[in-house]
Every structure is written in structure tokens, then in C-alpha cells.
Amino acid sequence: MTPDVPAPTASYEPTRGFTGRARAADRDPRLPPGQYDARDGWPVLSAEVTPRLTAAEWTFRIDGLVAAPRTWTWDEAHALPPSEYRGDIHCVTSWSKFGVRFGGVSLDTFLAAARPLPGASHVVAYSHTGYTTSLPLDDVTGGKAWIVWEYEDGPLPAEHGGPARLIVPHLYFWKSAKWIAGLRLLDRDEPGFWEQNGYHHRGDPWAEERYAGD
């Protein structure tokens, strides 16, 4: 996808005296429209209390429209073939972070074991806190999503979703549920927490799908 400087909208009007820190011409091509580079920062933006969840307590389950619903423990998940994501992440609150590394297992590996049924079109991702987020199945298959427990060279910090979280880096990060507990496959879109609270159903940063109606 080619990132573009956002086109002026109907309400476009230059702000007197505003020049901007980064000029449009030398804007980093990795930066989606309306985003800024958080550089070394990694803001924490959970709505709920960070749970005290240990690796021993953590489980991950896939069910719903699958032939073989199942639950993985920490050790069972770690026995699967490892996979990692190296690249950029984008938050709807307008920061982006470049070149991060997450280590874990591709969601494709878990889904292959659970065997989605033909009618499955969407998923609801559940966190151990009760947080939910909804995604089209196509957005979490084909090497586009991971269950991760490593950030850079260490364990994923609790406030960033440790011991394990979902990451779906091509969408705004509220889709990447922290403290991931499970995925339910459905034959319809069932809006999750932020989707019910005014956010866009899909959340593509390059299309600036931030809020309902975008």
C-alpha cells in the first residue's frame, strides 16, 4: 500500500502559523496518515486495571465455528513452532512505532489445529480481563496475526498485555487484544468493546478507519 499525505477534506483550512514538526515532503513513508512517530516511547492505553495473570494461569482457547475447539496452556503454546513479527505498529490515538519485534506463534498454527468450519467469517478475540475486539477472519489468517509473549529480547511486560497478547499489526492496535484468552469464530460480525464504544469496525490505519462513520 502506498502511504499518502491525507488529501484536504471539505473542512480543510490551514491553521494560522502552523508549520508542523515534520514536513509533508520528508514524512516517513512508514507513517500512516494522521500518525506521528512515538520513537522510543510505547504508550500504554488499556481501559482496565492491569490483571495479575501469571504464565501458569494463562490459557488460550479457540472455539465457535471450528471442528476441533481446544485450549492451550502456556507450555503447550510454547511447544508450537515459533514465529515472530518485525515491523511497525499503529495506535488509533495517533502514535506509531517502527521496527518492533514480537516473538510467539503465528495464529495460523493455532487455527490449523482448531480447523475453522466453512461458515466462519469473523472472530471475537477475548482477553482474560473480559475485553473483546472483533475482526474479519481474513484479517487474522495468512501470516497476519500472532499470539506473542516476547517483546524485543525479553518477556512481554504485563502492562503491554503480558504474559501473552494477540497482535494484528496491520490494524490499529486496539484489535491486538492484551492478556489474550481466546478466539471465538462466528458467521457474522459481533462488535467488541471499542467497536461498541464508537470505534470503527475494521481499523485500517492506512485508510484512517478510526471511528464509526470513517
Partner: protein, 251 residues
């Protein structure tokens, strides 16, 4: 490990916090011109910007908006800001902003913007941190985290709500305390440079058997992530249910 397909997963919901209000997607998607009608210094690093937004649909205390600045060549920068004013604002809303060192948007607003300029806003956004005034509210804020909480305090006063509302606000020094002149009996101020950080003792009067209102508190925490983690832990240790704690962290 084969299981029955009908055996559907029920997520553990003990931490789950539902949203408070339905949000209008249409209004949130629309950028609107906002005229700066007043700029008021709160502390050396914090100012309040009053905006006239002709088609503002109204908001609830605790909601935020997105503010956008546009350069002559079309380059834009946008940030989320909490709304400081109560909903009873006659078509004008207020934002209270830290001057973030090197901040692209806050820097412009603090050093270049003046009354008569226009910016663009969209919102109000998100129903999660909103307080409709329907439950007793225990509010914990640090630094400019007090901003959305002050909207709740102002709403509580202007509407004469009988519901209990308490605000615990933390600032480094008296000079850093935003809205210092507005606090009354509902507010406990914690000055961290002289008293140390917020402690269980500050919250004890609200969390004991005698301090809890009927039906319990709906707790709202706003501030840096460090403050949010600390304050939420204190609340949980003090017996506040996790599903009655809402957190807005500065990213």
C-alpha cells in the same frame, strides 16, 4: 483434546468494564471548525483553550475529542484531548493542555495560537470514560489527568446532583495544581513533592465501610501510566471491584 463444538467458551469477565453510553458514530466522524475564543493560563505549563464549535452535539463529562492542525501544504497533526468543561456550556467547550516539551500540537497551541484562530475538532469520542451522573463517583487524577475529572465535578455542581462525588488530585507542588481555585469540600489534594505519592491512607476514607456510598463507587482514574497503575492497585487493594474502575492513561 477433542471437545464438543457446542462447548462454547465463556470468557472470565471479572475485570470486564462495559461502556457507559452509546456513541454517535456520525458526529464522531465529522471534522468541524472551532474558533478559539479565550486562552487562560492555569499553571506555568498548562493553559485552557475555550472553543466555539457551532455544531457541537454536546458531550458527557469524561469524553474526549480529536483536535487537528493543518499546515499550508496540507500536512496535518492531530491529538486526542480530554474535554474540561461541563456539558452545560452554551455551545462552547474547553480543553486544558500541558505544554509538552517539543510537542508539535501542544507547542503550537501554547506558543503560536491566539484568540480568533480556528482549529478543527471531531467528537465527542468514546463512551467508556464518560460519567452520565448516574452513580456515585470516586475520581483520582494526577497532573493534567484531572482535566476530564474536572468536567465531572463541574457537571455535578451545575446540575446540583445529590449523588456523592469525591476527587483526589495529585500534583507535584501548589504551582502545578490545575484549577486550584475551584476545589471545595469534595476534593483531597495530594502534593507529592512534600507529602510523597498518593497512598492508601488518602483513599481510606472512601473505601472503608463508612466511606462507601450505597451501591458503591464508580471509580475513574486519569493520568500517566505510572499513576494509573499505582492508583488502580491502591483501589483494588482497598476493596474497590475491578469492574468498577475506569482508566484513561496518557499515551
Amino acid at each position: 483434546m477433542t471437545e464438543n463444538p457446542q462447548d462454547v467458551f465463556v470468557p472470565p469477565t471479572r475485570f470486564a468494564v462495559p461502556g457507559r453510553i452509546a456513541v454517535s458514530g456520525g458526529a464522531a466522524a465529522l471534522w468541524q471548525r472551532a474558533l478559539i475564543t479565550d486562552i487562560r493560563r492555569e499553571t506555568p505549563a498548562v493553559s485552557t483553550f475555550r472553543l466555539k464549535v457551532p455544531d457541537w452535539q454536546g458531550h458527557l463529562p469524561g469524553q474526549h475529542l480529536m483536535l487537528r492542525l493543518t499546515a499550508a501544504d496540507g500536512y496535518v497533526a492531530q491529538r486526542h484531548y480530554s474535554i474540561a468543561s461541563a456539558p452545560e456550556g452554551s455551545g462552547e467547550i474547553e480543553l486544558t493542555l500541558d505544554h509538552v516539551p517539543g510537542g508539535e500540537v501542544s507547542g503550537h497551541l501554547h506558543t503560536v495560537a491566539r484568540v480568533g484562530d480556528t482549529v478543527e475538532v471531531r467528537g465527542p469520542l468514546s463512551g467508556f470514560f464518560a460519567w452520565p451522573g448516574d452513580r456515585p463517583a470516586l475520581l483520582l487524577g494526577a497532573g493534567s489527568g484531572v482535566v476530564p475529572l474536572m468536567s465531572m465535578v463541574r457537571h455535578h455542581r451545575r446540575t446540583g446532583l445529590g449523588l456523592p462525588l469525591r476527587l483526589v488530585v495529585s500534583a507535584r507542588t501548589p504551582e502545578d495544581l490545575i484549577y486550584a481555585d475551584e476545589y471545595a469540600d469534595e476534593t483531597t489534594v495530594v502534593l507529592t513533592r512534600t507529602e510523597g505519592r498518593l497512598s492508601a491512607g488518602h483513599l481510606a476514607p472512601f473505601l472503608g465501610d463508612g466511606g462507601r456510598p450505597e451501591g458503591g463507587w464508580e471509580a475513574y482514574i486519569c493520568g500517566s501510566n505510572g499513576f494509573a497503575e499505582h492508583a488502580s492497585r491502591l483501589l483494588v487493594e482497598g476493596g474497590q471491584p475491578v469492574d468498577r474502575i475506569r482508566i484513561e492513561r496518557f499515551g
